[in-house]
Amino acid sequence: MPLLNTILVGFKEVWTHKFRSVLTMLGIILGVASLVGMAAIIKGMENGMKEAMIAMGGADKVLLEQQEVPVDQEHLADQAPGRTMLDVQALKQAAPMLRVVSPEMAVNNVLLTRADKTCMPSECVGVWSAVVEMNLHTLEHGRFFTELDEEHANPVCVIGTAIRDELFGSPEQVGQEIVPIGEVIQINSQPFTIVGMFARYEGEREKKERELAKTKPAEEVAGPSRQRGWGRRGNWAFQRKNLTIYMPLNTAWVRFRAAGDKDGIPDPRLSDIDLKVGDMSELEPALQQARNVLMLTHRGIEDFGFRTQENQLESINTQIRNARMSGGVIAAISLLVGGIGIMNIMLASINERIREIGICKAVGATGLAVFIQVLIESVVIAMLGAAMGVMASYGFVRVLELVSPTANAPVITTGALLIAVAFSIGVGVVAGLFPAFKAARLHPIQALRYE
């Protein structure tokens, strides 16, 4: 019996019992929708995590950390030079496998003031312009530091939007975006001119929250204006990045460090050296190269180490894998339940059609033809269910978005759709096997005589 014909007959059979078929399919529809929805939510979570990771400088950022010297060098510990500009220059010249080297000199205990407003930045750092590429910053207003700023140790700074919000007022509060280029603020009582401001960094989630707040009128709050809650709002990675203030490296040195940091002794050590490798696949040799250079500049004292984002990436991946596993198992169980529904209805259906099967056998249908017919019917139900499930999952995801509009948007992936459809077809086949076997084994005479 030609396959196409069999499939057509299968469709016809499903069509004859529309209501019953749809009820049967419901199991598969829900199963597919929950599997796809689950995968979409997890994908959204993954996107959120990756976003935060990029906010911290991306997966290819390597920190050059200060470390205790190894045990066999303990007697040299007091001669350990720490990370200095010498290292940076040496790395730039002698480690060609590094793409970006970004030195940072932090100024600690900083208080920013402007008129009667104050703000504690998350970090106040003297940097080279390499930091923009290193920490994946986007300069939206003004300019970054020039070589002249660096050379003259100019009192200029580039700020994140959160600092603007604190010192000048956020767009939400004042109703318009303030771009404070050219304004002067005090960093620990020293006047600095703002020359640039970064873009507002936020996750998809915060963005949605903000946009949602725009459409809703602000609630009237009695009493003086105030912020609610202490904790940071939104994702800490973005919040921290927005609270950044940068100045030229030399400015940090001349104005805050050279005069003596600890005990009045100038401290030329850098607070951070960040590296980016040209090619992530050559991370190992590149770090080895950097290590060789640094061993020279540190006179053989190994007071440094490297920290990569691999662990971070790995932990994100494990989390996602675990979430996928548990979600997948639950969805698979619901699909299995759908399969049981199909088997049930197929058994009932062949029981109703025993006589028909007998007629078909009398006119020459082989057991195999009957087997395939029943199996195809079961698969047709499963496939229709899967197709409706795919449609339903789009609706399901829309509902999820409406229910929690600020969560990371669930993303429907083709992979999840394919897996769901393939799995439900598999379930259809498995559910059809037993009824098909039963139908194929019917004896023609008994089937014909069946009342």
Binding site: P2, K12, I359, C360, A362, V363, G364, T366, G367
Partner: protein, 247 residues
């Protein structure tokens, strides 16, 4: 060689430890082109005989040769192929598929023999023409009268050009007038050269066939029933397996 050769065929059922011989050592030849009736009261084994002849069932003992093929040990698949290509069935309850229309019902056997759609339709229409039902081709079986349904069943039996047609009480569910029409249709088919086996309990119906076989208690009765004898006028000398009533 005869079209059908039954040799010492028995069919034994086990029913609760008791052995029931539905057919007991039956031998029978049917030649190509014969119009033959199998007659016997209910429970006599005539249906069992028809099922075995029609490849719906296998005998417990004995050999059957149908159109040159030995089928007593054939597999279910081979039997299905035999039913499909060499045998046509007409049943008492018509046994049409209610979800298919007349043409589709007639096409059914050809679907299982893998004939393509165009050829199927052509042959189905030809078969419907043979039973004079072309104008009902698109109707559902439930929209037809009993006689018409039986004619559709006959068209379905004819459509694969079988070597032999089995009709199991074909008029049992019809009024006598319609039944006569069906019987005359069978007679016409017989005149066209078809081999037809009519299974019935009714001697009057059996009377239309030139040759009659009576089954009693699973055996071919050697003595002809008296009622049959009175109607046996058209018997031919070719029927050697049955003694002439005048002898």
């Amino acid at each position: 060689m005869a079209l059908v050769e039954l040799r010492n065929v028995s069919k034994i059922y086990q029913l609760g430890g008791e052995e029931i011989r539905a057919l007991d050592d039956v031998s029978l030849d049917i030649d190509s082109g014969e119009f033959i009736s199998i007659i016997g009261p209910s429970g006599s084994g005539k249906s069992t005989l028809m099922h075995i002849l029609g490849c719906l069932d296998s005998p417990s003992k004995g050999t059957i040769q149908l159109d040159g093929v030995m089928i007593q040990n054939a597999s279910a698949r081979e039997l299905a192929a035999m039913r499909n290509r060499k045998i046509g069935f007409v049943f008492q309850f018509f046994n049409l598929l209610p979800k298919l229309n007349v043409t589709q019902n007639v096409e059914l056997p050809m679907i299982y023999s893998g004939i393509n759609g165009k050829e199927r339709r052509k042959r189905a229409l030809a078969a419907l023409e043979a039973v004079d039902l072309v104008n009902r081709a698109k109707h559902r079986p439930s929209q037809l009268s009993g006689g018409q349904q039986q004619r559709v069943a006959i068209a379905r039996a004819l459509v694969n050009d079988p070597r032999i047609i089995f009709a199991d009480e074909p008029t049992g569910n019809l009024d006598s007038h319609t039944g006569d029409a069906i019987l005359s249709l069978f007679r016409r088919l017989s005149q066209e050269g078809r081999t037809i086996v009519l299974v019935t309990h009714d001697p009057e119906i059996a009377a239309v066939t030139p040759r009659r076989i009576e089954i009693r208690d699973g055996k071919i009765a050697t003595k002809v029933d008296l009622t049959l004898a009175g109607l046996a006028g058209r018997q031919t000398a070719a029927n050697l397996s049955q003694p002439s009533p005048s002898a």
